[in-house]
């Protein structure tokens, strides 16, 4: 059986997999990192989004063997070691950007990539378009858009509503 060596959330793993194993199956079934979810089988919903080399990708649309040597971050790897949430996670909580929580890990991972790729900040329309690959059935996206805008301010060092609220 093929073997793949990759780093997930800072830990190096060598795992035997069938060639047909998807990255998301490796994460969920072999590494028991069940925060990354599967919501569809047509690469539409984005519940499985993780970061590979800093880019957001759909872990359901990449073979595990394609990840040889890759550096993968999942939702479990976002918070600091002391449990402090990433600003994006914190903003999702503050703005009530999640309900059932199932799409949330993928949504958060996509949102972070979106903010990282727009160092100058994002308009509401850019956020909405940037979420094209993530489907949420609960929230209507309204609060997700607000949370991402607020987190972008924090991540990019602008004085934000969030920071003001904390003062």
């Amino acid at each position: 059986m093929p073997q793949v060596t990759l780093t997930v959330n800072g830990t190096k793993h060598t795992v035997e997999v069938e060639a047909r194993t998807l990255l998301v199956e490796l994460l969920r079934e072999k590494l028991r990192l069940t925060g990354t979810h599967v919501g569809c089988d047509t690469s539409q919903c984005g519940a499985c989004v993780v970061h590979m080399g800093g880019d957001s990708i759909k872990a359901c649309t990449i073979l595990a063997v394609q990840c040889e040597g890759a550096d993968v971050t999942t939702i479990e790897g976002l918070a600091a070691a002391d449990g402090t949430l990433h600003p994006m996670q914190e903003a999702f909580r503050e703005y009530h950007a999640l309900q059932c929580g199932f799409c949330t890990p993928g949504m958060v991972m996509s949102a972070i990539d979106l903010v990282n790729k727009h160092p100058g900040g994002l308009s509401e329309q850019e956020i909405r378009e940037g979420l094209e690959g993530n489907i949420c059935r609960c929230t209507g996206y309204h609060n997700i858009v607000k949370a991402i805008a607020a987190a972008a301010d924090v991540m990019q060092g602008r004085r934000s509503e969030l920071a003001r609220a904390a003062e």
Partner: protein, 265 residues
């Protein structure tokens, strides 16, 4: 999906050898089309040959008046490439509209071109830009390369290595996305370049990407949105489904052509 053997060659020669030896092997780069098909068990390849380890196939460069894009260049890289943005901004913008962020972070130009999905963006752009497709053994003009839905001039075992795109004077793109899948329902790429005025259409045609020659003639005479506003393509050559009839798609081609010309300036 069904199981298969997996190979990751590090040179074009090795990749070609693997693919030529096994007609049931499939090449993969980003996998944005192949993997969804495999997951639904629509395909049963004996082997998957991963091209992503071939460093020579990656990157964008300008050679004189030609932009050369390596087959493994990702859509995100094309969308943000300084060379492409300076020389063919419409192409960079087109790449920024392919699929979603995650597709653009994985999907490659070569995969899109070699697969020739009727709703993929690249084929229409390359037709309009008069591009040349470089394979491991030859150069093929876009006109000869794209041969209808999922059909190309590639031989078994032959792989796309790069495209050469002459820098146009003007180019523009516009598309209407399918509301559900977000693939192109009708996209039009217009260009005025060394090969004259050319119009490529994706998404709408029943036979895949094609050139709208009547629009090309009209735009050659008068480069303005009004020139194509009155041109209705034959609905008989369009695709119809639950998202829109052939007549609707024919109409969208006209609308998108107008917008593409307007976008080109």
């Amino acid at each position: 999906m069904y199981d298969f053997s997996y190979h990751k060659p590090s040179s074009v020669a090795d990749a070609v050898k693997l693919l030529a030896a096994d007609p049931d092997a499939r090449a993969i780069s980003g996998g944005m089309t192949l993997l969804p098909a495999l997951k639904l068990r629509l395909n049963k390849p004996s082997a998957v040959v991963d091209l992503s380890g071939i460093a020579e196939l990656r990157g964008v460069k300008r050679e004189g008046n030609t932009i050369v894009i390596g087959a493994l260049t990702k859509h995100y890289e094309v969308a943000t490439s300084a060379e492409v943005k300076a020389a063919i901004p419409a192409l960079a913008w087109m790449a920024s509209t392919i699929g979603d962020t995650q597709v653009r972070n994985r999907g490659t130009m070569g995969g899109s071109v070699a697969n020739n999905d009727p709703s993929a963006d690249y084929p229409a752009a390359l037709l309009a830009l008069g591009a040349t497709i470089q394979t491991d053994k030859r150069k093929i003009s876009a006109d000869d390369f794209f041969q209808g839905m999922f059909a190309t001039a590639l031989d078994v075992g032959e792989i796309v290595t790069a495209v050469h795109i002459p820098v146009p004077e003007k180019a523009g793109y516009a598309k209407m996305k399918n509301p559900a899948s977000r693939y192109s329902m009708a996209g039009v790429f217009v260009a005025k370049g060394p090969a004259g005025v050319r119009v490529g259409v994706n998404g709408a045609g029943a036979g895949g990407a094609f050139r709208a020659t009547e629009m090309e003639a009209a735009l050659a005479a008068n480069w303005s949105p009004d020139a194509v506003a009155g041109i209705k393509l034959d609905a008989g050559m369009m695709n119809g489904d639950i998202h829109g009839s052939a007549e609707y798609r024919a109409h969208l081609v006209t609308v998108m052509a107008k917008r593409a010309v307007a976008n080109a300036g």
